[in-house]
């Protein structure tokens, strides 16, 4: 099947048809058929769902047992090197080239993509500025924290100007501030810089904040794909709230909500997850907080999370 002539190739950045990878009894991928549109696409699923296997097949690391895949119109099996020249890959595991600093590492990997050495150094600096690495770029990479290594991994994936980015768990090991900055970078790349992104993550909040559509995997099978909006449908009344107030005041607030049939349960980083039953608007949160003389410092309405969408999709299959 000619790769350019294939009808689906034009709209889909990545086409995967009936792809299977089987190691002995373990079916890492089970006849996966999916089309990744342009822009930022989330590759969702718990650990071990086959996300990494799919990414590695698209990179030509794994030869599929059956079926085939094409990236940017190029058949992976036929032209793995051309595909990898157009792809920027950010591996999941902690990795770096030993004995180098951020600049020489990024430039070196740029050269390995075929860039002339002078341009590689210049592009390396540009990429490192973009990911927010300041003058610590001249320090040996072994002394870097996980957060800084994640930034270099993104920089080396960008240095040769790829048409598409494969990001495997990009916010791994980042503190809250680092995570927000990484997601902002990914949004900027996909929305304003015209770089297609495949973001593989088991953190559904990351995908929700960066991607427009998703492909959902579970046990090697596709359990759902499409735009997040379409998959989510109607939006319920769920809020992520942080109060400024003592422990007692927070308990009073939670009790008051419970009395009215709503609920406030503690979540990560000192947040509260507030679920309002229908008929109650966010004013109720402000009212109850005021009555418990606590301050609402942070309130974000959450549409039904991708967790619910994913749970529903897995439930159906």
């Amino acid at each position: 099947m000619g790769d350019m002539g294939h009808p689906g190739a034009r709209d889909g950045v990545i086409q995967v048809e009936d792809l299977s990878i089987i190691y002995g009894r373990h079916r890492a991928l089970d006849s996966v058929t999916a089309s990744f549109p342009a822009g930022a696409v989330g590759l969702l699923g718990p650990n071990g769902a086959g996300k990494s296997s799919l990414l590695k097949t698209l990179l030509g690391f794994l030869t599929p047992t059956s079926g085939h895949a094409s990236v940017l119109g190029m058949e992976v099996a036929a032209r793995p090197l051309d595909v990898r020249q157009k792809v920027g890959y950010m591996p999941e595991i902690d990795c770096h080239i030993p004995g180098m600093n951020a600049v020489s590492l990024t430039a070196y990997l740029g050269e390995l993509c075929g860039m002339p050495s002078v341009e590689a150094i210049q592009r390396a600096h540009e990429a490192l500025y973009y990911v927010g690495l300041g003058d610590e770029r001249y320090r040996n990479v072994e002394t870097y924290s996980t957060g800084m290594k994640q930034r270099i991994k993104l920089a080396q994936a960008l240095v040769h100007g790829p048409g598409i980015l494969f990001l495997d768990e990009p916010t791994n090991g980042l503190d809250p501030k680092g995570r927000m900055e990484m997601l902002a970078l990914i949004r900027d790349l996909a929305r304003r810089k015209g770089v297609n992104v495949v973001l593989s993550s088991h953190l559904l909040r990351d995908v929700e904040e960066t991607c427009t559509s998703v492909v959902m995997l579970s046990h090697g099978k596709v359990v759902g794909q499409g735009t997040i909006e379409a998959l989510k449908g109607a939006s319920g009344e769920l809020f992520e709230v942080r109060l400024k107030g003592s422990q007692r005041q927070q308990e009073q607030f939670a009790a008051a909500l419970a009395a009215v049939g709503c609920s406030a349960t503690p979540a990560q980083d000192g947040m509260l997850e507030v679920a309002l039953t229908d008929g109650h608007g966010s004013e109720l949160i402000f009212a109850e907080a005021q009555r418990a003389d606590a301050q609402v410092r942070h309130l974000v309405r959450k549409q039904p999370t991708l967790e619910d969408v994913f749970a529903r999709a897995v439930g159906e299959k």
Binding site: P266, G270, G281, R297, R301
Partner: protein, 309 residues
Amino acid sequence: MTDTAAPIIRAEGLSRWYKQVIGINDVSLTIAPGITGLLGPNGAGKSTFMKLITGQIRPSRGRCLVLGQPVWNNPPLMRRVGFCPEQDAFYSGMTGLAWVRGLLTLNGWSRAAAQEKALAALAAVSLLEAKDKKIGAYSKGMRQRVKLAQAIAHEPELLILDEPLGGMDPMGRRSTIKMIKDWAAQGRSIIVSSHILHEIESMTSSILLVNHGRIVAEGNVHEIRELIEEHPHRIFIQCDDPRQLAGRLVGWPVVAGMRLDEDGVEVQTTKPDAFFTKLPDVILADKVRVTRLLSPDDNLQAVFDYLVK
């Protein structure tokens, strides 16, 4: 025993640099007993200070006293200090119990006494059921807890914990914070390092702020909170009709500035406390349906930028 009021850590003109890179630059301070939070962005000199007070490195200049004694190559002092390092380093082939018991025998206890203390420590960090499992097969949270176990097993007077909550899920975080508070209640002094403000806030009120190798601020977390409060604060509110809400808010004296964009309004204020207390009145009075309310720079970095300026 030194009298309890004496400082647990004293640094006098303490400096440490690695070739040209400054780790810690001429720091003089005393840390009183109780829980002290050591706070600072990554690479701010926090880990250098931790390595100095645990005797892993020598000062380039000045002195560093722990419980009144110099700490470099001072084994007897280690009987009174427990350390939980940040790195994820273990003998992965060994079981949790064997490892903690082995380390305890180094304190001089017999195998039986060490076994008993090790079990007590593992129970304290609720790892009893995994005691015979190899550490290599532990989850990140369990590895963090077994590190804590070896730090408290010999019942030290002073506990030094480097990023104890790193990589833990909310449940694990909450139980570790509770544990740390219980240990302090038993009269132990604890130094906890972290780069996340509200984690430290939940454990203690006395904080040491470190940035670029210098002590930026020392004292009570509420004072630090006030510092955050005083510096210009940005609050973003998203609702159905942002212009109408903006109209109501502009009249408030506490509001210093405002910026409107398509789906919400961003308010600048120097008295966020007063603003947040008054805000619900407007929302309830005008039945404003608020979908997002957040202040982008209410965090540690904001404090540093403000203090360092």
